[in-house]
Each structure stands twice: as C-alpha cells, then as structure tokens.
Amino acid sequence: MELISEVTHKYLRTKKKFPNVWCAGCGIGIVTGAIIRAIDKLELDRNEIVMVSGIGCSSRMPVYVDFNTLHTTHGRALPFATGVKLAKPNMKVIVITGDGDALAIGGNHFIHACRRNIDITTILINNRTYGMTGGQFSPATPFMKFGTTAPYGNRERDFEISMLAKAAGAPFVARGTTYHVVQLQKLIEAAIVKKGFSLVEVISQCHTLYGRLNKEGGAVEMMVWQKEHTMPIEAAKNLPPEKLKDKILTGILWNTELSEYCEEYDKIIAEVRQDTKGE
C-alpha cells in the first residue's frame, strides 16, 4: 500500500511552486489532500481535470497541484469554469472557492451555477473569514462573532450555505469538515462522480485570524470543536431535536436527479445542426 504522502506528492507541482502561502495548521492543505486522494481513488486522468478558483487563501490551491489550473478573479471562478466546461464538456471541472469568494463577491454566480445545473464540482472551504486580507467578517461569519471589520461583534447573520444551494437548484449538496478527513474524501468522490452541479462545503479552521479574534484557540482546539459540534446526517435521523441542538449536520445533505446543462445544450445542437448534415 502506498503511503498517503506518496499519493499526494504524485499530484503536486513540487519542483516549481512550494512552499505554499498557507499558515501552519490551516485547514486548506487538508482539503487539498482529500481532493487529491479522491481523484487518485477515482483513477481520473489528470490531463482531463481543470481546477478553477477565485481569489483568497483557498483559491491559491490550483497553483500547487498538477492539473490544468485556472486561478481567476475574485468571486468569478464559477463563470470561468462554466466557459471551460461548455467548451470541453468531457473534462472534469472542479472549482475551489472560499466563503467570501463564493458567497459575497461571487454570490450571484454561485446561485446561478446551482440553478443552471452545469456539471461542475464546487468545493467551498468555509473558514468563516477573509483570511488573505487579514480576518474581516464574511457572509459565513456567525452573528456576534468577531472580525477586524466587526470589532464590536458581527451584527449580520451568516448564510445557511447548504440550504442556499439547494434552494437555488443544486442537485447535490454535501458538508464535511477538515477534522473528518475520511468522510471528506468520500464526499468529494461522490461530488465528482455526480452528473450536475455539486457542492461540498468544508468547515475549516483559520486559527491565526478567526480563531484568535474569537478566542477559539489554535488549529487543534478548532478541530476538536468541529468534532464536538458536527454529526453525520445518518446518525441525526434517529435523534430527538434537543440532542441536535448546536450540531452541524455532515454528509450528503441533498441528492436528486436533474438534467444537466451541457447535455441539454447538446440536444439543441443535435436538433438544429446544419454544417454536418448529409455527411
């Protein structure tokens, strides 16, 4: 059996682009590892994978991995990815984004990608803050938590990301954490295999900014918090509501079948195409 690190190294641009920009203890590296292992497990051809991202800590991931990689503008990864996918529908398109990137500046693109149901796997790494710019509050920062731009406590409420995606039309919505790495890898595998728009929200830790500002401890303490405050959706089914208080559900939260956009467009082409008729 191969060591996990050996699997990971096969997919990293080790010669060119390290060390990375992430702080020691950051959750984004854990997510990177889970994505790589999922891709390895599924035995996908790395030439057929396009990883697209926006701007932010998590969006730096494509630079380090050995796929076709596209690091775009803030919030716009999904429309860039939409163009790539429509141009080459056979390629696997994976979008890496963060809570600020996907839900604030890219919020409109996010709901429309869900609605359009184009076959893109979106990994949304939610650390509840803007890390790269230094810890400002984001659309995923809970009420009364602190950020450098919420010095008196955040008076806005955070998005319920999975409900937002489901309501916007996404056929596959999952949630994992950086603590539960085995589950996370399985969720990513399922999302990649899913035909249609799939979202995996990953609850991650930013101990250097969010953790410090909110006195939630270091990376270890924040991951212990994840362990204690989450519950697999399967386990939650049989529990009374009072036991689920303050628990965040993980696993595949929503999974349904809808026709996929690129396939729908191919039907149009098959119907009206003229230039190859008679050939």
């Binding site: 030439n47 690091h71 503008t73 716009r76 163009g83 790539v84 141009a87 693109h109």
Partner: protein
Amino acid sequence: MKKDDASAPEKSMLLQGNEACARGAIDAGVRFFAGYPITPSTEIAEYLARNLPKVGGKFIQMEDELASMAAIIGASLAGVKSMTATSGPGFSLMQENLGYAYMAEVPCVVIDVQRGGPSTGLPTKISQSDTMQTRWGTHGDYYPIVLAPSSVGECFDLTIRAVNLSEKYRTPVILLTDEVIGHMREKMTLPDPKKIKIINRQKPAVPPDWYQHFEINPHFISPMASFGEGYRFNVTGLTHDPFGFPTSQPKEIADKLSKLKNKIMSHSEDMIQVKDELIEDASIAVLAYGSSARAARQAIRMARQKKVKVGLINPLTIWPFPEDYLRRLLNQLKLILVVELNQGQLVGEVERVSCGKSEIESLNRYDGELITPQQVFNKIMEVK
C-alpha cells in the same frame, strides 16, 4: 429569420450592423458566445443564440456581464474561439475580467455597441463616448487593439479581423461600434466563407515538460496550448513568470509587463488600418471614426466642390493609435478637424501626436443624435 443559410457563397443581402457582426463571428470561427441582454447590442446575442448551435457552437446567457466575460475566457482557454457583445454599462462591468484576459493573454473578442453615458445614459441613442474606456477601461498598464467600423460591411469584415488579430496576438480585441452602426441596415455582399482568411492561435511545438505558457521570445507572442491537451499549465491574473506561476521578483514582473507592451507595439503596423480619402493634396484633414466618419466623408466631398483642399482620415484601428501614419502628414496638414460624438476623446491623442505642428480643431456632438454632413461641412468652411 426564416431561412438562415449562412454557408451560401457570395450573396447580396440587406443586413443590420449587429447581425453582420454576428455573421462575421461565425465565419471567423467563433464557436462560443456568452452574453447578457443590453440595448443596443442584443441582436448579436439573439442571432448567435439561434445560429451558433447550427454550426456546432454554443451560446450561453450568463447572469451578468462579469460572468459573460469570464465565460468567454474560460472557453478560449479550452481552445474555442470566443466572443461577447455589450454596450456601455455592460462594458464597464466587463473591465475586471477584460483586464484578466490582457494579463493572462487570452484571445477573445468583445463588441461594444456604444450608447450614451455616463451610467445608464441613453440606451437607445448614439454616442462615441466609450473611446477612451476602450483604451484605459481596466486598471494597470496594458495595450488594447480596438477596431471601429463605420458601415455594415465593415462590421462584418472587422469582426473577422478582430477574431484573427486576437488569435494571432493572444490578446482581447475590442470592436467598437455604436447604436446607429449596430441598428442600421445596408446592402452588403457576403463573401464565400471558404475564401475568408482565418488565423488560428499558434500551438506549442515542444513537449509538455518544456512548455512555458507565457514564454518570452523575440516576437513576444507565446504559443498557446489548450486545457486538455496534456500541457497542464497554470493561468493566473497575478503577475506571473513564463510558466504562469505567481511571482514577486522585480525582473520577472518587469519582463511580463514589457512583453505585454511589446507584443502590441512592435506589431502595431500589422494591426493599424486607416481608410483615407482625398488626402494626397489636402491641407486640411477631417479625422473621424465609426458613425461620424460617414458624415465626414460626405462633408469633405461637399467642401471639395467649394475648392477646399480637404481630405478624410478614417482610422479603422483606433488603438494602437495610428500615430506614424498621422506624423507623416503633419508637414502637409495645416489643420486637423477631429469629429466625435463625445466631448472630445480621441482628439487628445491627435494633439499628442501633432505636438503643435498642425492646428487641431474639434467638432463634438453629444445630444444623442448623429452629426450631420452639413454640420461637418459648416465647420470645415468656418476653420479653413
């Protein structure tokens, strides 16, 4: 649109400017269009929504212009010739990702069918007030290619040229039309698509291990692989090294920005086209582009009948600005009259090049109406 046989050779038709752009795009090989409805450009999207799938291409209506610009960049990186079309407010929204396309050297075409501004301005009325926005619309140092047709026939020809130049130089090209050019109908003869000269981006001749997506070479144009061809390169809007990885090294930064400049400026002669008329013996020139060139052409003919030695300079390429062409005429021209449907934009460039050698006069109209030949004629007679 009942019968659309875009493939029929050599055919005379009554065509709308926007439709001519859309037809030109298909003939130039554009197979992906992403757009958002906006007056007065929407007919381009409508035509391509109907006709792109007929040739195996794809149309998508995105959620806004930011997304439209992003989608065409994505499709182009995946190897498909791509285009969008918009007008002022949408063009403003596209500036962010247009800058990305300059930085990441992604071929694509943006058509801006101008209307009055600023802001929502005059959705259904003509203006040429985006001229400087096409030059400096996005942040940072960059060198755009901008073409300005003044007839339906030129809409068709210059759309093809825009696609070809974008492919050849790996850069966005802007086609700057306006409400009148976009909506008017003129008779034109469509060429046989097989006889149209098509340029495709240069592909790498090296194996993936040697490939540099942003290679710096003597002609400044890097060969371009597409996603899925085994090259697995990185593309970023961050300032990058020749491999496409973010850099903060001063030499790599300067090399990249110099490359972006040299790529355009060292090939500007290939990009610049000027259509002049009666300029050989002229001591006065009217310089006009787009819709105003139509009125100016008529006006110089009227003035010639009054024995005024006046000619027309009609740049079809406004950026890079045809400064060498103009400089050669400065000893001959005592006066240049710049006619624009704005408060004076390209005139600044004419003044810069003239350096006081020729006198510069401006004729501007910005009330949402076309300038008339009589107005231009009167101005010629006033300043001659």
